[in-house]
Amino acid sequence: MTGFDPLAILRTLNEHEVRYVAIGGLAATLYGSPLTTGDLDICPAADSGNLERLAAALQALDAAIYTDRDPNGVPFVPDADFLGNAEVWNLVTRAGRLDVNFTPAGTGGYPDLVRDAVRFELDELEIPCASLRDVIRSKEAAGRERDRRALPTLRRLLAALEEQERSE
């Protein structure tokens, strides 16, 4: 078992009323990407109230800091001030890997991504999700090898969805 349960992480974020959008590979999966991803990426709003709620959610998820040397995570106590001190948090939780990125590459962060975000509903769980175009934009800007490999598939997916939309 991988222990990766993205819906459990998302449910916890929602229960704590965190304002965020899902981005990255898991967001692409929701749109229909057949690519495999082993973590959940989110971009939260960076205001202090939201950081408080995010910190509470991360505590409920037993979040620890992920490092290559210690995949089980380095324990930390998330609090709003601490979270606000970094742009990216690579975490491991009791439901699997979670990357928190306040300004994903090529974007202006939450206010930018929420503009075109959509909501998926899964078993009464609402998931705010960056638009597929924004997911692609961020991967293009990040330019990491794994992002570059994913781009042809994601662009084809976007074209297929646009075609589907036109024919409806």
Binding site: T29, L30, T37, L122
Partner: protein
């Protein structure tokens, strides 16, 4: 993605209003609006000029078609978002089991 969408994306990324981009291009806000809404179709040269006016370069590349992408995408689009997540988790579990497999001498 069409040319108007590219122009809109470049403009928004640059934090420009339609009016501001139009001014940089020496044209009217209504022209930019028509490109962005698809009411008129800008040429490739116009898209490049508009994108550059927003501070970006347009990079176009050719990639060989891989039919496998279409088959996998088609399969995935026939599933609900819930089934897509379940499928992802199942694939990860299978990968993990395969990694744990031991070669029998």
């Amino acid at each position: 993605m069409d040319g108007g969408t590219l122009i809109r994306e470049a403009r928004l990324r640059a934090g420009l209003s339609q009016q501001a981009l139009a001014a940089r291009l020496g044209t009217y806000q209504s022209v930019v609006a028509r490109w962005e809404t698809g009411a008129s179709k800008p040429t490739m040269a116009t898209v490049r000029r508009a994108v550059r006016a927003a501070g970006f370069d347009l990079s176009v590349s050719l990639t060989p078609i891989d039919d496998d992408h279409d088959r996998l995408i088609g399969d995935s689009l026939r599933r609900s978002p819930t089934e897509r997540i379940e499928d992802l988790v199942a694939r990860l579990e299978l990968e993990e089991r395969l990694h744990e497999a031991v070669l029998v001498p």
